[in-house]
Every structure is written in structure tokens, then in C-alpha cells.
Homo-oligomer: 462 residues x 2
């Protein structure tokens, strides 16, 4: 299958130009003013899937943005890969921090990408990574190298919470039947360090409100005698971690999965410089749970962070107010087996229980999602690992991501299959930020690696 | 001296009308657009002091608003009372919450004031309370009852920090020489419970900034491994009190004055219903330092309150950010003998010392002032106490106020004399708020009580 390299060599200008055309359409799912552009993008994806060799390509309307579906069934007895991706993008704000127009893609070299990177909103997340799969399919169909069946499900609401995807999946379980789900919407450790994301954290996001007196009071006249909701909220937040930075909510760790020694040892193989890490965000020391490394703390361990806090007088100068209320937004990242709804309920009852009688507390659950993990001994993982070995010349490192992609857990629940996360992006790609970009090398390397996954997956499935 | 009652009876309409005329001038010191009105008010005060019998009445210009000075020296060998007050007022905003125009005074009955209250900005704070002294002087001069010398110093910048008063005092120590300073700019416990404010708390106000990473991070990717400045700030704030609600800053209590049993017992005589207190601000329990009552906690004990806190995402909905910075405004109310600059320095070094290495902390001192206390065995206090006994038929209760009037400490430092705070306002007068008012009964009771103070002070000073 070395022909993939020559196929890329002969077609790379077209591969880049087609992606650039797709990036020019501002498919901002969060902004209803762009509804027409989102639809236009769905139509462009449909057209490209057809050109790549997909059959039965359809645009499924939803109450939000449409889902594009297509398939290439070569033999019902062969295994089936379901590719998931999304064609919608984050809003490009703040616009003034972009060096070029977010929807007028340009290719420029960078220190990490001397061969050039495509700068545009969605270049990496996820139009670029999704389109690698379309081009890999094109190669396999044109060169008759497709070893199994393939289905595509490309949605337009990932950046706004995939609201209508669950309904589509539940209504189309037969159509979406598959043996493995393949997604490129994550990153790898470095250009020369391939990695496969084997875990995602779940999420529970809540907002808390602490009420003291029924109105703002003069802190001189009442201070010291009446509970100050900011002080109380600070106490309550502080009490959520113990001196080892363990979370103190009773039952919080009950279902936390203990990682196998093998996977933990593999994780530790990932090249990591604590000095570089600290320097990159300008901190003097890291901070986290006793007994775990930095890379473990932000991936295989559950955490609790305050994402926002406010109360009292926050303008210029001074006001001696003892406020009536204080608020915080708190999120917990969860690991596989922790159920986000159960954790949300544990948080709520704990937070209410620890409140002193001098205040009233309201906890409002916001949203959440389950964590996810793929065992590294699965056929899907092994096929991906072999594919990277072939194109990078080294075994990829299994990597737990600290982030959350709640739909992956949904896929497993509804479709009963595991997801393989083959990401080709880099942390420096600035997804969700100004000057998002995707290395040309990464884009083409993805197109090169994906057909090897199909080959090994089909062989290992026999 | 029962003639004061008939004098008031014969002149009360005029006393009210003169005050109403003064209240009509919008002397808003904070707003430079009202500079001319503030000056007009100073001129009106000058005129009234002259009419009441003061000599050498002058308007002293400052770089801000002018100070009005006047005196009536009947015998250099007799003691001298210095009356301090202010003719400037707080801004009336929010205007839409006023039931009548703030500078168009009206007299209306209320539940607490069936005989009527004057509704206007400054009615109680401090034009009304200051003017009681002008009318008491008028009576004593006209009826030849003035038993000692009197000086008036009425300023126009109290509501904006008395910026130019210190300079005036330091430059005029001889002119202002006195044996006691008399101020009516506080309140009393209830209409039938006279009280004398014997203490004011000092203040130290600081702003703190906690910096973690140099930019906002994704809480999924970094959460658990990098110190979250909001969580750290919450921990640091929580650690500023121990389980008995004592403040943990080393040295904080070193100079705290222990109250005499006599004064503490007198304080406890003040009528106080904890149930009513809790109901008035809708709380289920009070909260404060172990070993002290509610009235002690908010007056004779130093306290630490967070007046404002902010950091991270505080808009609608959710954002999973691990913010770079978190902030708080923190104020400490201090008791006599605690030096506010020393306490500010203690806070700063403690707060910097307790910060973990994973964050950087900046403490910015904002402003402050010294606390103040008048001993209840002083001649001034005894004279005031006897005056109240005469007009209220009961001994007034010494009361520590939790609030701060930094100039009182300045008076003692520069003029070496004690201040007696004879307040006739009520908590319900809504000073600094919409619908500020002052009971007609309270206004006239002040005019009635003040001459008795002079009589007793002169007699006790012999």
C-alpha cells in the first residue's frame, strides 16, 4: 500500500485547495445569522463524500443544523468503520487578534510547520481532520484498496453541544451499525510523537449561589456579626479539597477506575518536560493531587475547578459592602465509570450539607457528560497503533485526554461500539482561539495513515 | 434651663423652615457640577452661624470645598467646645427610588415618626444634625445661657473623604484649640433609648490579585495539574479565619483593646432582640467570633470581610476555563489601638507568605483610618450622659459603632482632645439611601439636649 504516498504526492495541491474551499464557508453553528452558511457547508460535504466514492449520501435535517450521512458498503459480511466528524466551527471572535481573515484561509510557514500551515477557523477543528477521512476514502475507492465497509456521519452542531445528534443516532441504529467508530478531533503529543487518545474525561458543571442577609449591608455596621456569603463560599470551596488535594465529597471516588500498571507505564513513556510545561504557562510550580504525575492529574484523575466566581463590589475603588449573595461556577472532570448525573447529585447534597445555618445555598446543575475509555488491547486500538507504526516509524503512545467529548460515551451506549480517537492536531494549533491553523504535513500525514488503519482493522477482524 | 422647651415651642416652625431652606441647596460634594451649590451652602451656613451669635465667621477656601469656621468666645478662662459637622451631602442616586424630590424637602408622618419627618438628602446626614447645634447656640446666646466658649468647624467634604480637613487642622491648631469636640453625625439605639457612640472602628481596605498561569487555560486539559487561582484564593480567604472565627494573621490581635467589664456590662443593657435582628435581614443564624455577642462582634471586635470577589467566567451559561487571575477586595474593621497602617502591612506580608508556590500574589493597600474610643469616665461623656438624662429621663447607653469616621482619630492626634458623639438619628433614617429623612421629634430633641451638655460640661470642668 505504498501507493498512498504517490497518490498524495500527485494530488496534494488539490487536497489543499478542496479543504481551503470548505474553510471559506463560515459554518458558525452558534450564531443563527450563519444558518444558511452552515447548510451550504453540509451541501459541500455531501458533494465531496459523493465525489470520494460514497453511496447513499443524504443530508438529514434536524431542528438545528443538518447531519450528513454517507456509506460505502462493499460486502455486508465485512466489518464496518463509522467515521464521525463535524463541519461546524467555533465563532472566530475576537477578530482583532487574527493575523489573517478567519474565513479567508492562507498557508504560511511557522516554527513548528516549516512546510506551511493552513490558517483558518476550523482548519484543525474539525474541517481539516474530518476531510482527511474523505480523502483517505477517495484513495481507497479509486485504487480499490478499501478492505471493509465505511459509513460517514458528519454533524453541524458539535461546537454547540451536539443537541440533535442523540436523537438521530437513536432513530438510526441500524443504519449506523458498525464495528468501530473512528474520529479525528483530538491531538497528538508532537509531530514526531504519535499518540492515540484512549480516554476522555466526563464532566459535571454546576452553578452555586450562597445567600446571607436579604440585602447588601454596611460592612462596618454588620461585619463580624452576620455571615458574609463571600467568606462562606470561600470556606465551602476550600473545604472541597483536603491537604492532599483529594476531593472531599463523600462517594466521589467510589467508582473511579484504577489504571492498569501497563497503561500507566505506557503513559509515563510520553516525552514530557516539567520545566517546559511550567515555562509555557509561566508558573513556578505545578499543583495537584498527591501521588500522581502532572500528566496523570490532568487525564486519569477526576478534578474539581472553580471556573468563575463573583459577589459583592467588583468595580473600581472601594465599597464597604457585606453582600447578600455570592456565586460560583464549578466543574468537575470525571473519569470512566463515574456517572456524571450521580456525581452532580453527590455534589449537590454535599454542598447543601456543609453550608452553615447562617446562609442558604442553591445548587443548579448545568450540564455534563460521561467519560470514556478505550482498552489498548482492542482490535481498533491495535489497528490504529499499527497504522501509526507504518507511517511514523514508531509505536504511538496511548494518551488520556483531560477534555470531554460527551458524544463518544453516547456512541458506546447506543451503538455498542468503541471509538478510536486518531488525532493529528497539535496543542499549538490554537483551536477555539484566534489564528487557528493545521499543519500541511499533519493534514497529509493523516490522509496517509488512515488507509493503514482500515487495512489492519480488516485483517485483525478476520 | 427649662426655658429651652418654651424657646423651642415658640420657634419650632422657624427652626424647621430654616433647615428646609438649607436642604434645598444640592451640596453634592462628589459631583464637580455642584461646586457652585456647595459654595452657596457654605455661605448659607456662614450666615446662619452669624445670626445665631457666632463671631469671626469665615469661609476658608481649600483646593476642594470650603470649610466654615465661627466662634463665640465669652471668656478665655472658660472651657471651649469645638462643634464639628458637615454641610455636604451624598449624591441622591438612584433618583427613581425617591418618593419625593431629594432637594425639595417635605414633612410627612411615618410609623416611627407620627409627628412627621423631613424627607430630603442630608436631612439627617448631616445638615439636620449639624443645624441642631446652630439653633442650640442661638438659644444659649439669645437667652444668655452660654456657659463656656464654642467654636464651629463645618466642612464640605465629609462625604468624599475630608481630603482638605487635615491640612486645615494642622495649619490652625491654635484657632481650633478646645477642651472637647462635639459631633452629631451618628445615631441612637431608638427614640426611647438614648445612646452615646463611644467607639468607632478603624479600617484597612486592600485589594488582592492571585495569578496562576499566564493565560486562561482549558480546564479539561489543565484542570487538576495547574493551580486554579480561584480555588487558591478561596483557600487563602478561608484560612484567614480559624474554626472560632478568630482572624489568623499573626500579630493581628496584639494591640486589640480589651473592654472594661463596666463598659461591656453597660453595652449588654442595650435593648436587643436577636430574633428581631435575624428577621430584619432574613437570616436563620448569626455568625461571628466565639465568645462574643452579636453587638460585641460588630463593634468592639476587629473583623475581616471580603467586600468583593471575581475571577474566571461570570457570564450566562458555562465556560470551562481555568482562569489566569482571581481578585478580591478585603476590608478589616479595626478597634482602638490597632494601627491601620500596621495592620495593612501585617495583612500584606501574611497573605504573601501563605500563597503556595504555584501562584503569585499581589496585595494593593487601598485606604484606611484609625479606630477611636472615648472613655465613659471622661468629663465630656459624663456631661453628655447627664444631658440625655435631663431630656430623655433615662441614662444613655454607651454604644460602640462598627462603622468608621477616620477624622475623629485625626482630631485627637492633632488637637489632643476627645470627641463626644451625640447622635440623634435612627438606623431607619436611610442615610446614603433614597428617602433619607430625619424625625421632627429627633431634630427638636437634639436642640433641646445640646444646651444641657454645655451646662454640665462647664460645671464638671470647674
Amino acid at each position: 500500500m505504498n501507493s498512498i504516498n504517490s497518490y498524495i504526492e500527485n494530488n496534494k495541491e488539490r487536497f489543499l485547495n478542496e479543504l481551503i474551499d470548505l474553510l471559506k464557508i463560515p459554518s458558525i453553528s452558534a450564531d443563527s445569522a450563519y444558518k444558511g452558511e452552515v447548510k451550504k457547508t453540509a451541501e459541500a460535504v455531501k458533494e465531496q463524500l459523493e465525489l470520494a466514492g460514497c453511496d447513499k449520501v443524504e443530508i438529514h435535517p434536524t431542528n438545528g443544523h443538518p447531519i450528513v450521512y454517507g456509506e460505502k458498503i462493499i460486502d455486508p459480511n465485512l466489518p464496518t468503520v463509522l467515521v464521525y466528524g463535524h463541519y461546524d466551527v467555533q465563532p472566530p471572535d475576537p477578530l482583532d487578534l487574527w493575523d489573517s481573515e478567519p474565513f479567508n484561509p492562507v498557508i504560511k510557514p511557522t516554527a513548528l510547520h516549516p512546510e506551511g500551515a493552513i490558517f483558518a477557523r476550523g482548519a484543525c477543528d474539525d474541517k481539516g481532520q474530518m476531510y482527511m477521512h474523505v480523502k483517505a476514502l477517495e484513495y481507497m475507492v479509486k485504487e480499490q484498496k478499501l478492505p471493509c465497509n465505511v459509513k460517514f456521519m458528519i454533524e453541524g452542531e458539535e461546537e454547540v453541544g451536539s443537541e440533535h445528534l442523540a436523537g438521530f443516532i437513536k432513530a438510526n441504529k441500524d443504519k449506523l451499525k458498525n464495528d468501530v467508530i473512528l474520529i479525528s478531533d483530538t491531538g497528538m503529543i508532537a509531530k514526531d510523537v504519535p499518540s492515540i487518545t484512549t480516554g476522555l474525561r466526563g464532566l459535571s458543571y454546576v452553578e452555586v449561589e450562597v445567600t446571607g442577609p436579604n440585602r447588601d449591608l454596611h460592612s462596618g455596621l454588620y461585619g463580624g456579626a452576620v455571615a458574609n456569603p463571600i467568606n462562606i463560599l470561600s470556606n465551602m470551596i476550600a473545604s472541597l479539597h483536603d491537604e492532599n488535594n483529594h476531593i472531599t465529597i463523600p462517594g466521589f471516588y467510589d467508582k473511579v477506575e484504577e489504571l492498569s500498571d501497563e497503561e500507566r507505564a505506557k503513559m509515563a513513556e510520553a516525552p514530557f518536560s516539567l520545566d517546559q510545561y511550567k515555562a509555557s504557562i509561566d508558573i513556578d510550580a505545578v499543583h495537584g493531587e498527591t501521588g500522581f504525575t502532572t500528566n496523570e492529574r490532568n487525564s486519569i484523575r477526576p478534578t474539581l475547578d472553580v471556573n468563575g466566581i463573583w459577589g459583592g463590589y467588583i468595580g473600581e475603588g472601594a465599597k464597604t459592602v457585606l453582600p447578600s449573595k455570592a456565586y460560583a461556577k464549578i466543574s468537575m472532570r470525571l473519569v470512566p465509570n463515574q456517572d456524571w448525573e450521580e456525581i452532580t447529585a453527590l455534589f449537590q447534597s454535599h454542598f447543601e450539607r456543609i453550608a452553615p445555618k447562617s446562609v442558604r445555598v442553591k445548587v443548579t446543575p448545568h450540564h455534563g457528560g460521561q467519560g470514556y475509555v478505550t482498552p489498548i488491547d482492542s482490535i481498533g486500538y491495535q489497528a490504529a497503533s499499527k497504522a501509526y507504526e507504518q507511517t511514523f516509524g514508531k509505536t504511538p503512545i496511548p494518551q488520556r485526554s483531560g477534555g470531554s467529548i460527551p458524544i463518544v460515551a453516547l456512541f458506546e451506549q447506543e451503538l455498542k461500539s468503541k471509538t478510536i480517537l486518531m488525532g493529528f492536531g497539535l496543542d499549538s494549533d490554537a483551536i477555539h482561539s484566534p489564528n487557528e491553523h493545521f499543519g500541511v504535513w499533519n493534514y497529509l500525514k493523516g490522509i496517509e495513515t488512515i488507509p493503514w488503519f482500515y487495512k489492519h482493522f480488516a485483517e485483525l477482524s478476520q
